[in-house]
Symmetry: C2
Subunit: 210 residues, 2 copies
């Protein structure tokens, strides 16, 4: 067999990737499990300058890890997020849920003139208490989550809120930062975000459970 001219060993690829991130990114703000989360988020997007944009409540990573260990479900705003979660890392065979395909979502979205992403959030209530919510796609889903929390929906243990884009993404993440009250959160303070960064944060927490 001819040796390929590129690195193929998965463990070595991870090792070198994380070494490059540690060498290039300013990780001084992060410690413990939150450092692992930041590294994984940077790894998912290929941008070391994501580091200064990452915002988090002080206990976010520890609370997320405890919730995962306790078997909490992971609620995702998009199937892309759900399929980015590395299930073998989950410490308690945690459920990974996404309600956007629920047959009721279209009706609710059209009746309210809102997105399907936001309409599904009303179907999160029964699983919300103590869960990990991971929003990687839709600003409207994060806005709607904050609304139902203000209306008294049971709080999740952690919100990873990193919707992406040009309309509402910055504002939704600012609202998470400002309005989430005592719900621990992890977010990114600019337009960046997305399913891969969202799933990566969750995967880092799951990886830290071992």
């Amino acid at each position: 067999m001819i040796e390929p001219a590129y690195l193929t060993d998965p463990a070595e690829i991870y090792r070198r990737s994380f070494a490059t991130i540690r060498a290039e990114a300013d990780l001084a703000r992060f410690s413990g499990a939150m450092e692992a989360v930041a590294i994984r988020m940077i790894h998912a997007c290929g941008m070391v300058d994501l580091a200064p944009a990452i915002a988090f409540s002080p206990d976010a990573a520890e609370v997320g890890i405890a919730a995962l260990r306790a078997g909490a479900p992971v609620i995702c705003d998009a199937e892309m997020v759900r399929h980015g979660i590395i299930r073998r890392l989950l410490p308690a065979a945690n459920a990974t849920l996404c309600r956007i395909g629920d047959p009721r979502v279209d009706t609710v979205a059209q009746a309210r003139g809102t997105t399907r992403s936001a309409a599904q959030v009303d179907l999160w209530r029964e699983d919300l208490a103590g869960s990990l919510v991971v929003v990687g796609n839709a600003p409207t889903a994060l806005f709607r989550l904050l609304e139902i929390l203000e209306d008294g929906a049971p709080p999740p243990a952690l919100v990873v809120g990193v919707p992406v884009g040009f309309v509402g993404a910055v504002e939704a993440k600012q609202a998470l930062f400002a309005r989430a009250g005592d719900v621990p959160f992890i977010t990114v303070h600019d337009r960046r975000g997305g399913s891969a960064i969202a799933a990566a944060a969750l995967n880092a927490l799951a990886g830290e459970c071992r």
Copy 2:
């Protein structure tokens, strides 16, 4: 009902997002369907400065659209990519395939000391002729694809090759640019990429089929 303080109309969110991208991004290099592809790729990551990093063969978008219309399958390197494809946009109920979950992949990966992402590429051969390959995750998958094409595997119609990260991603995309021969391609000339950008490029092509 209290009017929410954020935009909820999906069509208007898209319209304003694309208007912002047109206002802020330098799209002069793009025309026709490729402009739509560039806009969707930028939309997926929230970064207008992705525009100058996008590279493509002159006929990439048109060839991709023709292949989709002809019913070509879409082969994805990751389930995240596959689940980012908006199926209702596909013009011919095109198959969307990902082989990473195939039970043979683990064995091949371990025997060769390579990633599961790369090992699955050998299972793409039977669907490869005239297909659309969308690599959003693994540099090793893109490297392996180029290897099997050099070994005489039937060429796809288009390769959307945007693996992300710190080890091999830049190199794999440069190899696509340099070695793909007459296989049309769309790529990004830096560390950036990922499942969302990959799926967005495919979704743009599908959207242009109408």
